[in-house]
Each structure stands twice: as C-alpha cells, then as structure tokens.
C-alpha cells in the first residue's frame, strides 16, 4: 500500500498548481464567467501547449502522457482548488475517456485533437426526463443512404456552448420500430441540424439544451454497443468530479479556519469558541473521508464493472455528504460575508453543490451502491496492484 505520489505525479501537480496560482486568480475567473463566452480559450491553449495536461491521462501512443486515472485525479483536485471554469472534466476525462474506450481510427484522431487543444469535445447523454440514468435514451438514430441521422433533445449539457464537437448517445430503430441498444455518434457542434440553447449554470459555468433535427452524424464504435463504455467513462468522470470536490472542500475548509482565526467577536477570535472549533473539526473529518473515498474510486476504475460501480458510487455518496457539510459549514462560520457573491467562498460552495448533483446525487449513488452486489475492494487488493498516488500519507490539518 502506497499513497505517495510518484516523481512524475508530483511534477504534474506542482507545475499545474504553480500555473494556476500565478495565472488563475479569482477576479479574472469572475470576469470570465460573467461575460461571453464564459471561459478563456487562452487558458485552454496554455493547458495544451504550456502544461501539456490535456494529454495527461491518455496513452503515449495517442500523444498523451500516460498518466491514466491518477493523473486525472491530480489535475482535477488542482482545478477544484482554483475554481477553474475550463472543461477538463467534460472534454479530457469524460469525452476523452469514452473515446479511448470506444477505440477506432476516428476516436483516436479526435483524442489527438483534444490533446493538442484543437477540439473541445463534449458528451451529450442526458435527456429531459432521464435524470441520472445512462440508459434512458430516446434520441433516435437511423441510417440514410449517405450516413446516419439523429433526432432528439439532450438536456443540461455542461460546457456544450464551448464545444467544437459533440458526442451524442442515441438508439437506432430496428425495422419493426424496436429499439436496439445505445450507440455513440459524433456531430459537429455547429453542424447541420444541431442547435444549442446556451445558458449559465448555478456555478457560473455554461450549459446548453441540444436539439438534434435530422442531424448528420458519424457512428463511433459498434452499433448498439455504447452503454458499457459509457458507464465506464461516466464512472471515471465521477471519480474525477470527486477529486475536484476534494480540491474545493480543502480550500473552503482552509479559508474557513483562517477566517475563524481572524474574525473577532465578543473580544476574541471566533475560532476560540468551542462550538466553532467542533464544527471545523467535523468539516475536517468530512474532507478527509472524501479524500480517502476519492482514492478508492480512482484506484478501482480498472476493476470489473460491478466492483467499479460499487466503489465509485460509495465515493460519490460520501463526497456528496461531505460537500453539504463542508459547504454549508463554511458559509455559516463566515456569517453574512459568506453569503456574498463577492467572496470566492460562495462560488466554491456553488461549484461544489453542482458537483453534488453531477453524474447522480447522493441518493442516486446510495442506491447504486446497494444494487451493485460485488464487494468493495478489500484494502490491499486494488491499491497494492497499482503504483498508487496521492497527497498525504496521513491526514493533517496543513494538507494543501
């Protein structure tokens, strides 16, 4: 068992942290979020060209750095810490991860374009009534002489307004009007028959409702065979979202401890009051549990599907609870100032709350955990095999 970073992993973490500390201050983030297009393509370019992180998880054969899920975890925690708007989660982890699993020439070419920053690929899988279910897909796909066409409505597609390409899940109709399984298609974001209604989300990012009307599309992978890959990719993205939440929570907790040291009422720092101390301790424990579960989920992504699902859902359920405890506690201890739009804290809380719902809320993952019968990986089974990552050998209050 080893929870330490390798040299390469440490380097990845440090170079990204250095870049974000220098160049990604909250004020510029706020300005970028408040006006069109809601993100900074220049930052994305720097991610690709200066830092090379857009290839962090992919195999070297595809132009990546070969860092896998652990690299995603390291990157996402840093992006959470700095409240980054740009769509690493959507494009690199989710779309890139799905393309890697689907394989084939078209998918691999697209991965290359993700790595270079040319293509911002976003997966549109949810629909207005699907809530968090991955198999509730009604978008229709059919074959014309010159190729595939799609018809349907994809809901709350995060980062879609920034995309160059959309991956779309759809079902092909059989001759008798029966549905086969889900397939994955590629469309250009500004392609024929594709229209987007853009809007801001609660965390200041952007999403869109995507309408497909007789939209020409390219089939990726095997017809009807997308679901297992989709589940695996969403599990990987869920683990990555947990890592982003860890970054957000560590930061919120640290800022709140600092505030409790400085804020004086009744002639002393409010951090001297035991009720505040105990709440901060509970929040600290909630963060540490989230960290542990994020490691578990990340290191279980290579397990067989049921064990993977169980570990990821356990992590997301625990992280979801921690988000509420840490986010609400941070606002409460800050008092009125914690309610303001001006302070980064509120935006951290809002992004964390968005993650609480993303890829299934706590209740959804509690049930998925119950349903997945396989045992949780026993200590030593999963982690020992991998050359395991991560930040701190033991929880300490000073953990960055």
């Amino acid at each position: 068992m080893d929870f330490a970073f390798s040299e390469d992993q440490g380097l990845l973490r440090d170079s990204l942290a250095a870049y974000l500390s220098d160049r990604y201050d909250f004020d510029s983030r706020r300005k970028a979020a408040a006006q069109a297009p809601g993100w900074r393509p220049g930052v994305w370019k720097a991610f690709a060209e200066e830092l090379g992180i857009l290839g962090a998880p992919f195999p070297e054969a595809l132009g990546g750095l070969g860092g896998g899920a652990e690299a995603n975890m390291i990157v996402m925690e840093a992006l959470g810490e700095h409240l980054v708007l740009e769509p690493y989660l959507e494009t690199v982890v989710l779309s890139g991860g799905l393309l890697e699993r689907i394989g084939g020439e078209a998918a691999e070419t697209l991965i290359g374009q993700i790595v270079s920053g040319e293509a911002v690929v976003v997966l549109a899988y949810a629909e207005p009534s699907s809530r968090y279910d991955l198999d509730a897909v009604h978008t229709a796909a059919w074959r014309e002489e010159d190729g595939w066409r799609l018809d349907g409505h994809k809901a709350v597609v995060a980062a879609a307004p920034w995309a160059t390409h959309l991956l779309v899940t759809a079902r092909a109709e059989g001759e008798g009007g029966e549905f086969h399984g889900e397939s994955l298609f590629l469309v250009a974001a500004n392609g024929e028959g594709v229209s987007l209604r853009d809007y801001a989300t609660m965390d200041g990012r952007r999403a869109a409702e995507v309408t497909l009307e007789d939209a020409p599309a390219t089939l990726l992978g095997e017809e009807g065979g997308a679901l297992p890959h989709l589940e695996a990719a969403v599990d990987a993205a869920t683990a990555a979202a947990c890592a982003e939440a860890v970054g957000l929570m560590r930061r919120m907790h640290r800022e709140t401890v600092e505030y409790a040291r400085q804020r004086r009422q009744f002639g002393r720092a409010i951090g001297e009051f035991q009720v505040i101390q105990h709440r901060l301790v509970d929040m600290f424990m909630a963060v540490e549990q989230a960290v542990s579960m994020t490691y578990l989920a990340t290191l279980s992504l290579g397990e067989e599907p049921a064990a993977r699902a169980r570990a990821v859902s356990a992590a997301k359920a625990r992280v979801g609870k921690s988000i509420r405890e840490v986010g609400q506690g941070a606002v409460q201890i800050h008092g009125g100032i914690g309610m303001t739009d001006e302070l980064a804290l509120g935006w951290r809380f809002k992004r964390a709350t968005a993650i609480e719902q993303l890829f299934g809320d706590t209740e959804y993952h509690l049930r998925r955990f119950e349903r997945s019968g396989a045992g949780v990986p026993e200590p030593g089974a999963a982690a020992a095999a991998a050359s395991a990552p991560t930040a701190a050998a033991a929880p300490t209050a000073a953990t960055p």
Partner: protein, 397 residues
C-alpha cells in the same frame, strides 16, 4: 387541554381567507413564486390594502395606535392565511420592529409623527443594526453619533441592510458614548434616507439577488428629536426589538406552503420509472420533514397559548428560530434533490433572465433558493447565538 381553535377563531380565519381572496391584487399573484422581482410599490400596495381593512397591516399593534389588535391566536391564523394564499409578506421592518419600539418608548409627538405613516404604508423602513465588525456581537457597534446643537452628526457604516435600496427611513443603533461599557453608550435613531451624506451600496448574494446593502454615513445630520428613548438607552430598545423580531421567525405557515410545493414537484418528477412521490425513500424524507414541521407548529402554538395568558415571549422563541430555519433550509435541500439535473440551469443568465425557463418552471428557482436560504441560520441572531441564549436563559448554564 384542547387542540382545537374556538368557533370564533375559526370564523375569524374564514373572514381573513375571504378578504384575501377578494382583495389581493391579481397582478401580484404568483409574483414571488415565479421569482419575479418584487419592487417597492408591490410591497406597499398590498400593505396599504391591508391597512385600509382596520389596521390589518399591523396585526399585533394595539387598536389605540391604529393596529388590528389581534390576539396571539388571531395573529397566528392571519399569518397562516397570508402564507396559504402565497401573498407578498408585509415587511417586518416597520410593523414588527420599529413600530413597537416607537409605541413603547416614543414620546407622543414621535408616535404621532411615525406610527400612522408606518401603519398605512407611506414609509418604507429598513434596519440599521449590523456592521462589518458587529454581527453576532452587536453591542460592539461603532457607527457614531456626536451631538452638535440640536442635531447628531452620524458617521460610520451599517451592513446587511435589507431592502435599503427602497427605504425612506432607517432605524439605527449608533454609539453616542464611546467611553461607556459596550451596551451602555448606544442610542436608537430614526434617520431619513434622503439626508445628505448617506450612500447605499448593493451587496449581491449567493443566489444572485440584490436584497441587502451597505449603508454609509458621512457627516449625516439627524435632529435630536429623531432619537427614540433616552440617550445611551438604545440597547433597551434593541433588546425589546430583537424579542419582537423572533416571534414569527419560525415561519411555519410559509414552510407548510413550501412542503406543498415540494409535493407537487415530487408528483411530477419521474425517477426510476415512477413519480418521485411514490419513491419510498423520498416519501420517508418528506415524512420526517413534515413531522418536524408539525412539532414546530405545536411548539409555536404552545408559545402562543402562554402569550395569550399574558406571559410575554420568552427565550423559548430562540427554539422557534433555530428549528424554523432548519426546516426552511431542509425544504430547499429536498427541492434540489427532487428537481435533479435541471436545478443546474440558473434562472438568471448571461445578463438577463432565462425566459422561458430552461427546464420545468418549478426548477428555475431551486438552486438560487437553496443558496439564498443559507442566510436564515445567520440572520436575526445566528443559530449559534440562539443556542447560547437558550443555554444561558432557559437552562441556566
């Protein structure tokens, strides 16, 4: 012992229900629920209609001052009916806060000057209490008023001033004796918001709303005649007012309304092939919420009954504040869970409102409301302070 309202009380309830049905302006209906901005004139319009009906704008004021003079039970039923009809609330600043201070501590001239326009909705009041350095520890406030002839000259800053952008007058706690012990050098001043030297700056809160403000005072001249009660005795008014602020803070009636709305969402949302309202786990969460609300309601009724028998609201009202706000916040958590992914779509977007709403119409407000309602455990004396009050005054610790 008896859990029923008297026939007279029930008749009163019907009368109120009918009055609201007949008189609530149709153009205001649904405005709060749909998240449209409620403006100054919207608040005052409904206030004035109630005032014309025998002082119903001021349910708790004595008849001598033009109020409705309702009994505690009638006040409760009145609030219940207002919430049931989802009306715009009558704002507390004039009616529940400064009004009772003026009729309890004011001179006859002060009563004559401020009570009628407050009652009739001619004055829009705001509250100048909190300061950047004086929140939970209100008595450490620094905004100072220095005597200069027949005026005080006020300098300093107030913050979290709700709806100051609409206000005509502000009631303020100011420090008139910098050398006295914290609570002893404070006075209670009424200040015309049009006085030169006052600046109001908006504070935007988590849900994107402009509800609260900073109010700055720079050499603002306030006549000594605008001071309520004696100089340096303002803390007496403040304590009195805080006790009044807490009654009704339980928000039972509005929370009942919130539970109904939540049930409607759960009937509409389909999860795992069935309405959320038939999902055993969600149903159980709703049951826990409703039982907590019922327990709060009957706790409030017990408080009312004590009040009816002549005992004033005691420190138990802190219990109502804590439990009431916890329930209000719980409703917003369950609304987020019920709505699911469309809660992500902010109702306000890219410099304007998302119209028509992106998802179901009930989804547009749940995110901002979840964030906004975090304020309830902070304002009106934070829930930590309320627990201190119970520990000290109820438990004697």
């Amino acid at each position: 012992m008896n859990l029923d309202f008297s026939p007279e009380d029930l008749a009163f309830r019907d009368e109120v229900r009918a009055f609201i049905a007949d008189n609530y302006p149709p153009e205001l209906a649904g405005k709060a629920e749909e998240g449209r901005e409620i403006g100054r004139e919207d608040f005052l319009k409904w206030h004035r209609i109630l005032a014309e009906r025998g002082g119903w704008s001021a349910p708790g004021w004595p008849v001598d001052y033009g109020g409705a003079g309702f009994t505690p039970v009638q006040r409760y039923l009145f609030g219940e009916e207002m919430a049931r009809a989802d009306t715009i609330p009558v704002l507390p600043f004039g009616i529940n806060m400064v009004g009772p201070v003026i009729y309890t501590f004011g001179t006859p001239e002060q009563k004559a000057r401020w009570l009628p326009p407050t009652l009739n909705g001619e004055i829009f009041w705001c509250q100048g209490y909190s300061e950047p350095g004086a929140g939970s520890d209100l008595a450490s406030l620094k905004c100072k008023a220095v005597r200069d002839g027949e005026d005080y000259v006020v300098n300093g800053q107030k913050t979290w001033t709700t709806l100051a952008q609409h206000a005509d007058w502000i009631f303020c706690l100011v420090r008139t004796d910098p050398d006295a012990k914290a609570q002893e050098g404070i006075s209670f001043l009424l200040i015309d918001m049009r006085t030169p030297g006052i600046t109001v700056r908006p504070i935007i809160t988590l849900g994107g709303e402009h509800e609260v403000n900073e109010v700055w005072f720079e050499d603002v001249r306030v006549p000594v005649a605008n001071r309520i009660h004696e100089e340096n005795k303002g803390w007496t008014c403040a304590k009195f007012l805080l006790a009044h602020e807490r009654t009704g803070i339980a928000g039972v009636a509005r929370s009942k309304r919130g539970v109904e709305k939540l049930k409607r969402i759960a009937d509409t949302e389909v999860s795992l092939g069935a309405p959320l309202s038939s999902d055993p786990i969600f149903v159980r969460k709703m049951a826990e919420l409703e039982i907590d609300l019922l327990a709060l309601e009957y706790t409030e009724l017990r408080t009312l009954a004590r009040e009816s028998s002549g005992e004033g609201p005691g420190p138990e009202s802190s219990l109502l504040k804590i439990k009431g706000t916890e329930i209000q916040q719980r409703i917003t958590e369950l609304a987020m869970e019920a709505v699911g992914p469309y809660a992500q779509a902010n109702f306000r977007s890219l410099g304007g409102d998302n119209q028509p709403p992106v998802g179901p119409d009930y989804a547009a407000r749940v995110g901002p409301t979840y964030f906004n309602m975090r304020k309830t455990s902070i304002y009106g004396g934070s829930n930590e302070i309320q627990r201190n009050i119970i520990a000290k005054l109820v438990l004697g610790l």
